[in-house]
Assembly symmetry: C2
Homo-oligomer: 272 residues x 2
């Protein structure tokens, strides 16, 4: 199914714009799982089952699996497969922030879409559209381009002015005007930059969906994201990782994640 259709259906079915980031780090896992053989997959399964009816997407970040090598990648595969098998209506966003030349991006596409079977990916804009084209050619997948990242120093290049327009706005406009021919592009904008989020919404209108990471541990606040909603009160995928998955470090971690996800979902809905 097309990513946008799947997303929209999950948003409606679960009445939510919340996304949970599946970013396991061995040291942060509950003690009883730390030395478990399939620790990441076991941890993820519990989080997934506890939150699947509260969220509109799961977002595993590839880095945390790569840190464990081939075994980590295998657990990322099992995690994606588990979601597809058990919660088939929930789209998976692979947060892997790739971009290389075209022929190399074909290989990355195989990893994301064939091996893992995810519905959407995040990509860097720096190489330009021609390099990204192999991703864009997947009409049914979501291609989420980094526009304004959530880190404190993201302005170093992103705020540089080109003909009086900041680079991140140039990127947003290029995606809307040229990269989005297949209507499968989304923009990534950090929750830590709520003013820029509102500015980009104004710039590109209501047709584009934004992935918004950075609430919680990174300091982004849900009440400041209002300016990013479309007129219908949607258009955002608001992602929480550490705050939700590590809500408790004990054996009740899944219940605690569910409580935190419920709180965040309701909080976000109250502002829509």
């Amino acid at each position: 199914m097309e990513f946008k259709t799947k997303l929209s259906s999950a948003v409606q079915q679960n009445d939510t714009l919340l996304c949970v980031g599946l970013d396991p780090v061995r040291d942060n896992l509950p003690d009883h799982l730390k030395n478990h053989g399939n620790a990441f997959f076991t941890f993820n399964k519990a989080i997934i089952d506890a939150t699947a009816d509260l969220i509109c997407a799961f977002k595993p970040n590839s880095a945390f699996y790569e840190a464990e090598g081939a075994d980590g990648i295998s657990q990322l595969h099992d995690t994606c497969r588990y979601i597809t098998d058990n919660h088939p209506h929930i789209p998976i966003i692979l947060d892997f922030k790739r971009a290389d030349i075209g022929s190399t991006n074909q290989a990355y596409s195989k990893f994301a879409f064939d091996y893992l079977g995810v519905d959407a990916i995040t990509v860097h804009p720096y190489l330009g559209r021609d390099a990204i084209q192999p991703f864009l050619d997947y009409k049914d997948k979501g291609i989420m381009i980094l526009v304004r990242t959530s880190n404190p120093g993201s302005g170093e290049f992103q705020n540089l002015e080109v003909d009086g327009v900041k680079l991140y706005l140039k990127v947003a406009k290029a995606v809307q005007d040229s990269w989005n021919a297949n209507q499968n592009c989304q923009l990534v904008i950090g929750a830590t930059y709520p003013e820029e989020l509102a500015e980009i919404r104004k710039l590109v209108g209501d047709d584009m969906i934004f992935l918004v990471p950075g609430i919680g541990a990174q300091g982004g606040q849900t009440d400041l994201l209002r300016g990013g909603f479309t007129k219908n009160g949607d258009g955002l995928i608001i992602s929480s990782s550490r705050e939700t998955i590590y809500a408790s470090g004990g054996e009740n971690f899944a219940d605690a994640a569910r409580a935190k996800a419920t709180e965040l979902r309701d909080q976000i809905n109250s502002y829509r």
Copy 2:
């Protein structure tokens, strides 16, 4: 050993600036290896042994291993380990073009430096220095920042002018002036942009090393790279992937790769 020391020693010992890209694609492998269980590792071992005395670095691109999932990552691991064990004086550059927020980059560092044990990595500049800092903190590793990429449309953002200066020059200058506090940064500049290569050499002087991919299949020509050398006739790592590793599609692929690498090494040396 520090990346720069290891590289400089390999450059001198083998009298070469050539780097071989280990980018296996199943369809391009010789027929007798296509269905081999450890096809990538078997292929790489032969290429590595056939070229190790002709090159100054090996550069596996992570994408091609990821395309085969966990098994591919396992073969990337075995490839890196094989180089370290059998050709310990040759540095390994992991071409993975990553960049995320700081805490995520720590996970990518674990993949590159702990799991694979490589000497250098390639990274995207878009997020800015604060995000890249966890990489930069590895003082003995090479951190190679994308400045001007080899793809035909790389100018889309890289050529935008900020105060009359093109973005890729802004990136090069920022790396030199601020990111390079540990003297462990290099710049990535496509061989398909020889004028820009010369321009960046003039801008940053002779202290920085450039990784130059894009000769051969992508159209970059070694004779046009002269402007990139330092006064001593070095300062470049010139990478060949497809042209060398697929020089023959037959059982003699390793001999053919050796012949091509010899030709390229000598060609490059004739211009130094």
